[in-house]
């Protein structure tokens, strides 16, 4: 690891914002979405300095010496497997004069040679060679100039997380009850085998990254924001998937659950009843009729299970700060700037099913990115425009705050509420405030 002989990170922060004044019980201040200074601090603390951050899925690093370029906040990072297959993450930043080493998205490499002056590093970060080494004096110690390592890298059943915080809890402890929801999502796949495909919808919007996180746990918006999709779905008569958001979503069995550390989930499954019901309620995708006929003819009693596997999980699981497990996709929030964000929708196939099941899974995973998400992101952009008015200072998150009977504590201690409660925002902002109020960057 690079020696920080003159670390500026430990210097006292100048003019620290009193964040507690900007995050209230029922509202947050607009500057959390608009100020470069706050964004810069988030990119250090929320995205890795204090907390775990989702980096990649193990299926994207399929063999020993695989690598994948990702971002941890704004830091360019390479996630690697060493020759034994163990996971590492290093900054994609040469310890000589900072050039990125790896300019490919993914591949296999035992070592990385910097294209600038040719320093070479093992895929675990150690510096192994510098061209014409006699140009360095006796004080030069190669072991001091390895790549900056992400302090801890842990995988939970294929989901790889990293943090720069040596004293962070284990990923399992940090996930808490969210791990059980992730288990449900993973175990839908036979043998738990989920494969992230190389083709992803990389959607960008001109707005702050938190707008995506606010929205992912928001059961209030679908009936309005997704009217175009609901209307399209009723083109041929009966309306389909998500139409239950249109009746009073507060009255149904669908609920939102608070999972700690800013994590939450909306469970839409109570809107369905039994095997085959996900499939029966799906908007029709290309090839649906022939596919269903074939699966029913060839798989008899198992057909409903296979048909349902082509459809999303019916949970919206948000893992703070950057992982959204929705439908059959693994979504990653990638901040690019205070008012610019990439939302990557990684499509997945599963093992242990006939190939046509995965093909239908591709068709269903094209549906929402085409006809749902763009309407959300249009609204995110319009929020960002609205935030340009400095005198209107607050964003509300008070729905459900004082409503009798909404919030309940389950036997496991997990608090749940009606799906339209903005409790998920209040909870994740509490976690955000904790991270942002720590005094040092690491």
């Amino acid at each position: 690891m690079t020696v920080q002989r003159d670390s500026m990170a430990a210097a006292p922060a100048q003019g620290r914002t009193a964040y507690a004044a900007l995050v209230r019980e029922d509202r947050v201040h607009r500057t959390l979405y608009t100020e470069q200074r706050i964004f810069d601090e988030e990119m250090v603390k929320v995205f890795g300095g204090r907390s775990w951050v989702y980096l990649a899925h193990e299926s994207q690093l399929p063999e020993p010496n695989s690598f994948r370029s990702v971002r941890m906040g704004l830091r360019p990072v390479i996630v690697t497997r060493d020759r034994k297959g163990d996971l590492h993450a290093v900054f994609n930043r040469c310890s000589h004069r900072a050039a990125t080493l790896c300019r490919e998205e993914s591949g296999t490499a035992k070592s990385f040679q910097c294209p600038y002056h040719g320093w070479t590093f093992r895929n675990t970060g150690e510096l192994v060679g510098t061209p014409w080494p006699r140009g360095y004096g006796e004080s030069f110690d190669k072991s001091e100039h390895g790549l900056h390592k992400v302090a801890r890298v842990e995988s939970y059943r294929g989901f790889i997380f990293g943090t720069l915080n040596e004293s962070a809890p284990s990923v399992v402890d940090w996930l808490g009850p969210a791990a059980g929801w992730l288990d449900y999502w993973i175990d839908r796949a036979p043998g738990g085998e989920v494969i992230v495909r190389s083709a992803a919808h990389r959607m960008g919007y001109r707005g702050n990254w938190k707008l995506a996180y606010d929205n992912a746990g928001d059961g209030y918006h679908p009936a309005f924001s997704h009217r175009s999709l609901l209307e399209m779905a009723s083109r041929m008569g009966d309306s389909k998937d998500m139409s239950y958001f249109g009746v009073s979503p507060d009255e149904g069995a669908m609920r939102t659950y608070m999972l700690g550390n800013g994590h939450s989930v909306i469970d839409q499954r109570p809107n369905y009843d039994g095997p085959g019901s996900f499939w029966a309620n799906q908007r029709p995708q290309p090839g649906r009729e022939r596919f269903e006929e074939k699966i029913r003819a060839e798989h008899g009693a198992d057909a409903d299970r296979l048909l349902d596997l082509t459809i999303g999980s019916q949970i919206n699981l948000s893992i703070f700060p950057n992982l959204l497990v929705i439908g059959n996709q693994i979504q990653v929030i990638e901040p690019l700037g205070v008012d610019r964000t990439q939302l990557t929708w990684n499509a997945t196939t599963v093992g242990g099913v006939p190939p046509e099941v995965n093909t239908m899974r591709m068709r269903t995973q094209e549906d929402f990115p085409a006809f749902g998400e763009p309407d959300d992101q249009a609204n995110f952009e319009e929020v960002q425009r609205g935030l340009a008015a400095p005198e209107a200072e607050w964003i509300l998150m008070n729905r459900g705050l004082d409503v009798a009977g909404w919030q309940q504590v389950g036997p496991d201690g997990v608090v749940s509420s009606a799906a339209t409660d903005e409790l998920h925002m209040r909870r994740y902002y509490a976690a955000w405030l904790d991270m942002m109020s720590e005094d040092t960057a690491r």
């Binding site: 495909r197 190389s198 083709a199 992803a200 919808h201 990389r202 959607m203 960008g204 919007y205 001109r206 924001s225 009217r227 175009s228 999709l229 209307e231 399209m232 083109r235 041929m236 029709p284 995708q285 290309p286 090839g287 649906r288 009729e289 022939r290 596919f291 006929e293 074939k294 990439q342 499509a347 196939t349 190939p355 046509e356 995965n358 093909t359 591709m362 068709r363 995973q365 094209e366 990115p369 085409a370 006809f371 763009p374 309407d375 992101q377 249009a378 609204n379 952009e381 319009e382």
Partner: protein, 199 residues
């Protein structure tokens, strides 16, 4: 093709029985054919292809989406791949993989007046060039490829989408109809904002 569709599924704007293994296999064959070297075409063929593309482009650019929809065959595909080189749609997602029903959905969706990503609507204007054409030796259909730049203005922002089209056109009693339109964006696998415009 249509002989494989049972009569109750004949209306492909409502049913999709025909998108099966054979459909995907034929798509892979034609997608590869669209990337091969072709013999030089005659002037007449090129002019015919150019004028077909220009007319289709105009229907989109002036927002006549119902008329545009009528340019497609019953067993059509409007395909905007994510993967460079088009990839394998049986295991990869696309930006658009619209059979007749999905394409009808898309036009319907655009016209609901409720799609906030299209309020205000995209204004587009496209330029098409480098037109080449040949005949599919298996089906006799007309293959056309062309370079395209789509300019879009929406919500105060002008964007540019360069790429190339691969068209498979079938001769019908009403003239040429689009059996396949493959839209290969130059940066198809990279970040895009709001891809709800029609390519």
């Amino acid at each position: 093709m249509s002989s494989r569709i049972p009569p109750e599924y004949a209306d492909t704007s409502s049913w999709s029985y025909h998108v099966d293994e054979q459909f995907y296999a034929e798509l892979a064959r034609q997608s590869a054919l669209l990337r091969e070297d072709w013999p030089e075409a005659g002037v007449t063929e090129i002019v015919e292809a150019q004028s077909f593309l220009a007319r289709e482009a105009r229907l989109i650019d002036v927002g006549r989406f119902n008329d545009w929809l009528e340019q497609f065959t019953d067993d059509c595909l409007y395909w905007v791949p994510v993967t460079a080189g088009a990839g394998d749609p049986t295991v990869e997602v696309s930006h658009a993989f619209d059979d007749r029903r999905r394409l009808t959905d898309r036009v319907y969706w655009l016209r609901t007046g409720l799609a906030f990503s299209q309020i205000p609507a995209s204004r587009t204007r496209r330029v098409i060039g480098n037109v080449e054409t040949t005949v599919d030796p298996v089906t006799g259909e007309r293959l056309v490829r062309s370079n395209v730049v789509v300019h879009e203005f929406r919500a105060g922002v002008t964007k540019t989408y360069p790429g190339w089209y691969g068209h498979v056109l079938r001769q019908t009693d009403d003239g040429w109809r689009i059996r396949l339109k493959q839209v290969n964006l130059l940066d198809s696998d990279q970040i895009h904002e709001n891809l709800t415009l029609v390519f």
